[in-house]
């Protein structure tokens, strides 16, 4: 898969970018929904079969699948961006010794 470089963004830039991606995702799902519903109801009743599937189903659902996959590829190529997610902020490691394994043995702290 095409690899985009991983960007270092400020918090503000991250959230701005994510909002862009979120909106684009909503646009895609709306397109898919409109297609799926539109052709499902719109072509319903037409007595044609493709590969054992009614025409309305083939166009609406297989079509929705194709559009989803293509749509995701387009989103990933043109809208979505790789960025560093940020460091882990351990709210509890400041005062606790919870570096244990499930067998109950304590592991030495690495901090």
């Amino acid at each position: 898969m095409k690899e985009k470089e991983v960007l270092k963004l400020t918090d503000e830039e991250k959230h701005k970018q994510m909002l862009k991606e979120i909106k684009a995702t909503f646009v895609l799902i709306l397109i898919v929904a409109a297609w799926h519903i539109g052709f499902g109801f719109g072509l319903n009743g037409i007595d044609i079969m493709i590969l054992g599937m009614p025409l309305w189903f083939f166009v609406s659902t297989i079509g929705a699948f194709v559009i989803s996959v293509v749509g995701v590829i387009i989103l990933l190529k043109f809208v979505f961006v790789n960025f560093e997610l940020g460091d882990e902020m351990d709210e509890e490691s400041l005062s606790d010794i919870d570096n244990q394994t499930t067998s109950g043995k304590e592991v030495a702290l690495d901090e």
């Binding site: 898969m1 319903n44 189903f57 929705a64 989803s68 989103l75 997610l85 351990d90």
Partner: protein, 496 residues
């Protein structure tokens, strides 16, 4: 037991053992490598998932026994291709969830140390009432869903191997509870990945043998026309248009309100994994849903005269008819996989919620002596809690109610009505304060349950639509009315 039954059982047992072993081995390996705290390891797998695992666990958690047994059964016996159309709605779920919530949760959870959706809500709304309310509701619905899944799995094994219900239940329930309790989140997602692969294999097997079994499509059409009127019509076989459209909410967009899938946004390791998972997940869901349900319709043409006590028996019966017994055993690992992946994910999240969100936050609080004791026993506590919830569900499953498909959907609608706006509204609405969130959850769930209980069906629209609709109105209204000075600065910094 007949020879066939013994073969099926053996294949199943081998599969279960393999899951357990792989789940435990990998989780212990990862645990040693990770330098994060116990909570982060046990409940969110050190945020280490890559694209494939993330895709598979998201898909596997989401697809449950309905996708493999009830759904295709309903397609073949009752609803025909309209059921397949409904299953197609879920194709968008994978990319929707990851595209909208994935990175947001990833970023915010790293900043706040959250390992559950309630943890995110706590950071976003700073409301104890909200966390307690939503966590309790979530636990109730999760237990309902787990029971539904266990029922499905047990009935399946019972049908196929002839063993009594409770024995069938014990066999797989024990395995899944154990690897979840002892292996934590990592065991859950690794086994989910195996199970996702098995589900794909199962789907291909099913489609292949059904196509072989029906001969050709023209013959199939003739048989189906005679057996199930309206099978090839979207609205002709039992679903009203309103109900059909409702599915786009219930299993489509509403998915954003499901904590068990949303939490996966906190567990992946980098944006690349998220992106890969969006693509892989979409493809896998599409193949599974369209494959299983379409073949489910066609399969009816193989056994047009048979009657079934419920549509849940359709697939197990057909499968044993059309596949050689070893292959049938392998296929049947697929719905088992669907059950186990769903239950394990619900179980670990339920445990995380109790241990971290409720117990640690409200019972232990900041009393240093209590905190110290809590941390010392944390691993044992988490394990015991996971085991106890598992046992509770097991016990409740022994006296089961009726059809799995609908029980599952009830819990789903309830969760979505509760969580949808606090989560989704929380991303966009800068006036979405804690009052808005609490009011929205309460109104959403109450509306949903009232509508469901009293069968309020205007245009046959599913109750979840009302739940989310009124939940949404409440969220924005209450926010607009009560949020006078905007959100706290630290919330704005962390979440926006």
């Amino acid at each position: 037991m007949s020879k066939n039954q013994i073969i099926m059982l053996s294949v199943l047992v081998i599969y279960l053992v393999a899951n357990f072993v792989i789940g435990m081995v990998v989780s212990k390996k990862e645990e040693k490598k990770s330098s994060m705290s116990f909570t982060k390891k046990y409940f969110i797998g050190s945020r280490g998932m890559n694209g494939l695992v993330l895709a598979m666990t998201t898909v596997a958690t989401y697809t449950s026994v309905s996708s493999f047994v009830s759904g295709p059964g309903a397609a073949g016996l009752t609803y025909g291709f309209s059921q397949v159309w409904v299953s197609g709605v879920q194709i968008g779920a994978a990319f929707l969830m990851l595209g909208v919530l994935g990175k947001k949760f990833a970023v915010v959870s790293r900043k706040t140390g959250a390992v559950t959706v309630a943890g995110y809500l706590k950071a976003r709304y700073k409301s104890d009432a909200l966390v307690i309310l939503t966590t309790l509701l979530m636990l109730v619905f999760f237990i309902t869903q787990m029971i539904a899944q266990f029922m499905g799995g047990a009935t399946l094994i019972e049908t196929v191997t002839g063993m009594p219900y409770w024995v069938s239940l014990v066999i797989f329930a024990v395995v899944v509870i154990l690897y979840t309790a002892f292996g934590g989140f990592t065991a859950v997602v690794i086994t989910d990945t195996i199970q996702g692969v098995i589900m794909l294999i199962g789907t291909f097997l099913f489609v292949f043998y059904v196509i072989r079994g029906i001969g050709d499509f023209d013959t199939m059409k003739v048989t189906m026309d005679a057996t199930l009127p309206g099978w090839d019509n979207l609205t002709g076989s039992g679903y009203a248009p309103g109900t059909l459209l409702s599915f786009w909410v219930l299993v489509g967009v509403g998915v954003l309100g499901l904590p068990q899938t949303a939490v996966r946004g906190m567990g992946f390791k980098d944006t690349r994994s998220c992106h890969r998972a969006m693509l892989i997940g979409t493809i896998v869901v599409g193949v599974l849903m369209i494959g299983m349900h379409t073949a489910g319709v066609w399969a009816r043409a193989i056994v047009p005269e048979e009657t079934f006590a419920s549509s849940d028996y359709f697939i197990p019966t057909v499968v044993q008819k059309i596949m050689p017994v070893g292959v049938a055993g392998l296929f049947l690992a697929a719905p088992m996989a669907a059950v186990m992946s769903t239950v394990s994910s619900l179980l670990i999240l339920a445990s995380a919620s109790i241990v971290k969100d409720l117990w640690r936050t409200y019972i232990v609080k900041d009393n240093p002596a209590k905190v110290e004791r809590f941390n010392r026993h944390l691993s044992k506590t988490s394990l015991v809690v996971t085991l106890l919830i598992g046992i509770l569900v097991f016990v409740l499953t022994l006296t089961p109610p009726d059809i799995i498909f609908w029980v599952n959907l009830f819990a789903m609608g309830g969760l979505e009505s509760c969580f949808f706006w606090p989560i989704v509204g929380g991303i966009f609405y800068k006036k979405g304060n804690k009052q808005a969130a609490i009011a929205s959850s309460v109104i959403g769930v109450v509306t949903y349950m009232v509508s469901y209980e009293f069968g309020i069906t205007i245009f046959n629209i599913n109750s979840v639509v009302w739940g989310i609709l009124f939940g949404g109105i409440t969220y924005f209204l209450v926010g607009a009315l009560t949020c006078k000075h905007g959100l706290d600065k630290d919330v704005l910094d962390t979440c926006f």
